[in-house]
Symmetry: C2
Subunit: 200 residues, 2 copies
């Protein structure tokens, strides 16, 4: 899922640095992560991290590109019946977030977006390339940008409430139980009607 | 709404400090906020901040108590038809968050909860005292703790997506437009049935 691991067959220093950065962003947050910490995590010299990536913003973008694959997210929504797109998207997202006790690097991206404008920009771009594009192209619903933002609000809320704040009922629930409750909400945002709709 | 202002008729140094702390938590986040910054914001000596509050955790708890009034949140849910409790809760929450361009102190609490265990504890406690209690007492729905956590996930997601990440469609939408989309979701979490429900 996360493409940050060592590639087989040859040393991958760049990949090691991205993995270390992903761990730092997830555990310490964006602001508290330094190039020096990332270098220590990857077992390399800080100068090498700067040579590969320049600064923290570029490093964050590299982590996001390694974690989030827009094509996979689009496929998760598009491949299958339209009326189950919400459930497929939720399961894809929960898979990216990983185990509650050992969350994957996506949580670091979400956490970073709460405090960093650059991180928020990166996630907005991802949203436009995936959910927004998926709704407009595959689901043929009106107001794709508004719907994508609502979908994002619920997914980000699950990430924060279940993985960061660790609300006990959400942390204890398994994927099927969460899907039973939340998938209908995502489906409603993706394709449903609502009462006070205004044309864009 | 926020009870952090100066009380009429006498100087309120404690209140000034809480207001300054709320501004710091909202703009800089929990980790980056120092007692010294809060003191500077309130125009007092750092020693006075420590004398009143002890440490940053106690200061955060004081800000949360000033911002969040469990009785008002409970009343927002309980006072009126049960089938509009979701809309009332959403409007109460959006009112607490304030204007998109000048968010109120609640956003600082939500941001802090993403990175600080203490802040997360404080918000979990608030959730148990309000949404959870409201569902159990007034709405007579099953699984009140699970439902409260789902409500929290959507509300926190709106706070992050609209006010912190500032997704354009959500930032541009007015309260009525948001309520048209999101209130049915909160209502579903508060009182609705769902497909794969498991008894606790």
């Amino acid at each position: 899922m996360a493409r940050t691991g060592r590639r087989p067959g040859r040393p991958d220093t760049r990949g090691e640095i991205v993995s270390a950065a992903a761990r730092c962003f997830a555990s310490a947050g964006y602001d508290a992560t330094s190039m020096r910490q990332v270098a220590a995590g990857a077992g390399v010299d800080p100068a090498l991290v700067r040579r590969f990536f320049g600064g923290k913003e570029e490093l964050f973008t590299a982590v996001a590109s390694a974690v989030i694959d827009p094509a996979s997210a689009l496929a998760a929504m598009a491949d299958g019946p339209v009326d189950q797109a919400g459930e497929r998207l939720l399961r894809y997202f929960l898979g990216l977030l990983g185990d509650v006790r050992r969350p994957g690097p996506l949580l670091g991206l979400v956490r970073a977006a709460v405090t960093s404008d650059h991180a928020a920009d990166v996630l907005r771009q991802f949203l436009a390339e995936t959910v927004h594009a998926g709704i407009a192209a595959g689901l043929h619903a009106d107001q794709p940008d508004f719907r994508a933002a609502l979908v994002a609000s619920q997914l980000v809320g699950i990430a924060v409430a279940r993985y960061a704040v660790r609300l006990a009922p959400l942390a204890a629930a398994d994927t099927d139980e969460l899907a039973g409750w939340v998938a209908p909400v995502l489906q409603y945002y993706l394709t449903g009607d609502h009462t006070t709709q205004e044309e864009p």
